[in-house]
Symmetry: C2
Subunit: 421 residues, 2 copies
C-alpha cells in the first residue's frame, strides 16, 4: 500500500491472489527435493536470525500488555521455542511428498486407462491468532503439499510473524522457488480478513486457526470452502463390559492430560448397568482436581459432585471440568452423542467387540476410538508427522489434516485415439 | 404448510432438515441389500405407476407452453423415458456400496491400529431444473451412498416430480427404510431455494444441477459446501507430434458427437509447428457443420473461417461452434488453458510421451486426457455406473461424482487401553 493512496482490501487481496496463483502453478510441478530444500533452508534461516526474531517478538510483547496472560504466553518466543519451530520445519522437510501419488488406477473395456493422481489444492488461506509459530508451521506444510498460501496472522503478532516470514522467504530464494509461494498479509487491518473470506476464485480453501469467535465468523461469512473445527465436545463412554482399570486410566488421561486441547474429553458417559465402576471413575477424576457436573442419580456418590445444568451437555470446558451422565447402554451413549456431540472425537471403553463395533459405526464423528484416550486426536499421534488442524466438517479432509489433507486429485485418462460412440 | 398459516421457508427447511438428519442416521447403518431393495422396489413402482406419472407430466406440460422448445423437451416424459428412468434405478441398485469400505489401515508403535472407513456425507441437498428424471436419479444415488436427500426440482416439473417421488417412497416403505430419506420440497416457492442455500448444519453439501444462472447463484450465495461445475470450457491441443488420423477423429468427436454436453470441446489449440495438420483439422470440423472462430494466421486456410473475438476464448458455446487458436507448442497450450480454461476437461493429442506427460501434469483440470476425446468426461464412461454431476471445484470429489463422491470418511482407532503420554 503506497502512502497517500486509500487502502483497498479487495484490490490488495486480488493482487496477492494473482501472485499466489502464479506461484501455485510452479509449486505444483516442483520436485520434492526442491520443496524440502526450501524448508530446510528456512529452518536454518530461523536459527540464524534468532536475534532478529526475538527482537521483533519483544516489540510485539511490549504492545501486548493489555492481553490476557494466556494470550501473552502464546505470543511470547524464547530460544527454546524458536529452536522448536525450526526443528518442526526440519520434520516437515522429511515427510513424504503427497503430490503425484497415484491414488488408484483402472482400465475400461475400450482400452482407456484411468489414473487418479494427487495434486495440490492450489491457494490456501490461513487466518490465525496470536501464536506466531503458525506462520512457520502452516507456511511450510502448504509448501510441502505444493500449495501457495496467504497467511493472515494476529495483529498483536505482526512484527514477529514478519521476522519469521522473512526467514521463510530466505528458504524459498535459496532453493529457487517463488517468494509469492508464502505470502503474509502486510497489514493488521481487519478488513483484510473480510477480503480473504470473500476471495472466491483467489483462495481455494480457508483454514481458520484460533478461538471460537474467529472460527465461527469464518464459517458464517466465508464464500470459500472452509476446513475447520469449531468445538471438540468429546465423549468417553464406559460400557458395562469395560475393563475397570482401562476405563479409569483412559478417562483420567482423556480429561486431565491437557485440559486445553481440542481432543480433551468434556463429557463422561457411564452405562447405567456399570454402576460398580461409577464411584471409582468419579473418585479418580475428583481426586485429580477435576470438577464434575453430574446427572441426579450420581449425586449421592460423592459430596464433591455438582448437579449438571442442561447446557453442560453442550459445553466445551477446555478446563478441569467435566460433565457426567449415566446412559442406557451403548444405544443411550450413541443417542447422547448424536444430540450433543460436535463430530470431533469420541471413545468407547469396553471388552465387548459387538458393542464396540456398534459404537464405532454409529457415532458420526471424525475420530472414533475403542479403548484409547481421546487425546490421541492429533496429527502427530496419527503418524502424519504434523498437522494444520483437525477438521470436523464433512469435506474431503476429516480429522487431523496434514500434507495429504492439503491435496485433492485429478483424473488422468490415457488413450490410443479413442472417441466416444 | 397448513392453509391459513403464513409460509416460513426457514422453518420448513429446519423441519425437513431435522427429519433428514434422523433418516440419515438410519441410512448410514443400513445394509447394502436393504438400500438396493428399496431402489429396485422404486424402479418397479415407477413402471407400475407409469400412467400416473404420465398424467402428472401432461399437467406440467400443459402449463409449460411459455417455455422454450428445448425446456419443454427436457420436461416431457413418454413411455420410453419412464422405462429408461426405471432401468437407471436398477443399474444403481447393482453398483457396489461404498459405505464401510476401508480406505486404508495402519499401525503405530504404541499398538494403536488406525482405519479410515468410508461413511456417507449425511444430508445432501439437490437443486435442479426442468428434467424430472433427476428426482429419481439423484434420490437413489444419494440413498445407495447412505445419504438422506432434500430435492428441490424445477417448479415447472413439480407435478411430475411428485409422482416420481411417490414411487421412490413406495420403494423406501417396501424395504423398511424411512420415507424421510428422500424428501421433495413440497412447494415451488423460490424462497425455499434461499432457505436451502442458508441451511448450514441441516444440509451437509449442496449439488446444483442446471443452467449457469442456477449454478452461479448457488455458488455465490450458499452457506453450505457446494459440489458443482459452472463451465465446461474444454480444450483439445493437437501437438506437432500428433498422429493426424487420431487428431482428426478426436477433434471431430470432442466437438460434434454431442455439442450440448459439458464435456464437449469448445476450443481447439493447434501447435504452430503442426501447420501441416491445421487445414485438415479445420476442414473436418467445417464439413461437419461446425462454425469456427480462429486466430488471424488461420483465416486464409478456408473461406468459411471467421475471426475470433477475445471473448471467444472464454465462451462455452454448447453448440456447433468452436474457437481455434495456434499456440507455441505444449507450453503455449498450457498457458492458454491456464488463462481461459474452466478446470473441467482438457485433452492433448500427441505421440510424444514427454510432451504428453508435461501437459497432463501442468494442466490443472479435474480431467486431463491423452489421445482420447473430451466427451469421455462422464461417470458412466469412467466406469462409475452413474453420476450425479461433474465437479470442477477443488474439494474431495473432482470430475464425475458418483457413489464414492457422495461419501466422506472417518478414522476408527482401535486400542487396548492406550493413554497419551
Amino acid at each position: 500500500m503506497k502512502s497517500g493512496l486509500s487502502f483497498d482490501p479487495a484490490r490488495l487481496m486480488a493482487e496477492m491472489g494473482a501472485r499466489a496463483r502464479s506461484a501455485a502453478r510452479i509449486l505444483a510441478a516442483a520436485p520434492t527435493a526442491q520443496k524440502a530444500g526450501a524448508i530446510r533452508a528456512a529452518a536454518a534461516a530461523i536459527r540464524a536470525n534468532r536475534a532478529t526474531i526475538l527482537a521483533a517478538n519483544t516489540k510485539d510483547m511490549a504492545a501486548a500488555a493489555h492481553l490476557s496472560p494466556a494470550m501473552q504466553d502464546r505470543l511470547k518466543l524464547d530460544d527454546s521455542r524458536i529452536e522448536a519451530m525450526a526443528a518442526g520445519l526440519d520434520v516437515v522437510a522429511d515427510l513424504p511428498d503427497p503430490v503425484g501419488e497415484i491414488i488408484r488406477e483402472w482400465d475400461r473395456p475400450n482400452g482407456l486407462h484411468f489414473r487418479q493422481v494427487r495434486v495440490p489444492l492450489g491457494v490456501v488461506g490461513i487466518i490465525y491468532e496470536s501464536r506466531p509459530n503458525v506462520t512457520a508451521d502452516a507456511g511450510v506444510l502448504c509448501l510441502m503439499a505444493g500449495n501457495a498460501c496467504i497467511l493472515r496472522g494476529g495483529s498483536e503478532a505482526l512484527a514477529t510473524s514478519r521476522a519469521i516470514h522473512a526467514a521463510l522467504l530466505e528458504g524459498l530464494r535459496a532453493s529457487g522457488l517463488p517468494e509469492d509461494a508464502i505470502q503474509l498479509v502486510p497489514t493488521s487491518d481487519r478488513a483484510m480478513v473480510g477480503a480473504m473470506l470473500a476471495a472466491s476464485g483467489l483462495i481455494d480453501i480457508l483454514i481458520p486457526r484460533g478461538g471460537k469467535n474467529l472460527v465461527a465468523r469464518v464459517q458464517a461469512e466465508a464464500r470459500v470452502p472452509v476446513l475447520a473445527h469449531l468445538d471438540g465436545n468429546n465423549h468417553v463412554y464406559v460400557d458395562r463390559a469395560a475393563d475397570p482399570a482401562k476405563a479409569s486410566a483412559i478417562v483420567l488421561n482423556a480429561k486431565m492430560r491437557r485440559t486445553g486441547v481440542c481432543g480433551a474429553m468434556e463429557t463422561l458417559l457411564i452405562d447405567q448397568s456399570a454402576t460398580n465402576m461409577a464411584p471409582m471413575l468419579l473418585e479418580t477424576l475428583l481426586d485429580s482436581g477435576c470438577e464434575l457436573r453430574v446427572t441426579p442419580d450420581l449425586l449421592p456418590l460423592d459430596t464433591r459432585l455438582k448437579p449438571a445444568d442442561p447446557e453442560d451437555w453442550d459445553t466445551e470446558y477446555l478446563d478441569s471440568i467435566a460433565s457426567v451422565a449415566t446412559v442406557d447402554g451403548v444405544e443411550g451413549a450413541i443417542a447422547h452423542i448424536a444430540a450433543h456431540g460436535s463430530h470431533h472425537t469420541d471413545a468407547i471403553v469396553t471388552e465387548d467387540t459387538a458393542t464396540a463395533d456398534r459404537f464405532l459405526a454409529a457415532v458420526d464423528s471424525a475420530i472414533v476410538l475403542w479403548n484409547a484416550s481421546t487425546q490421541f486426536a492429533d496429527g502427530g499421534e496419527f503418524g502424519f508427522g504434523a498437522e494444520i488442524g483437525i477438521a470436523t466438517g464433512r469435506l474431503h479432509a476429516r480429522g487431523p489434516v496434514a500434507l495429504e489433507g492439503l491435496t485433492t486429485y485429478k483424473t488422468v485418462v490415457l488413450g490410443t485415439g479413442q472417441t466416444r460412440p
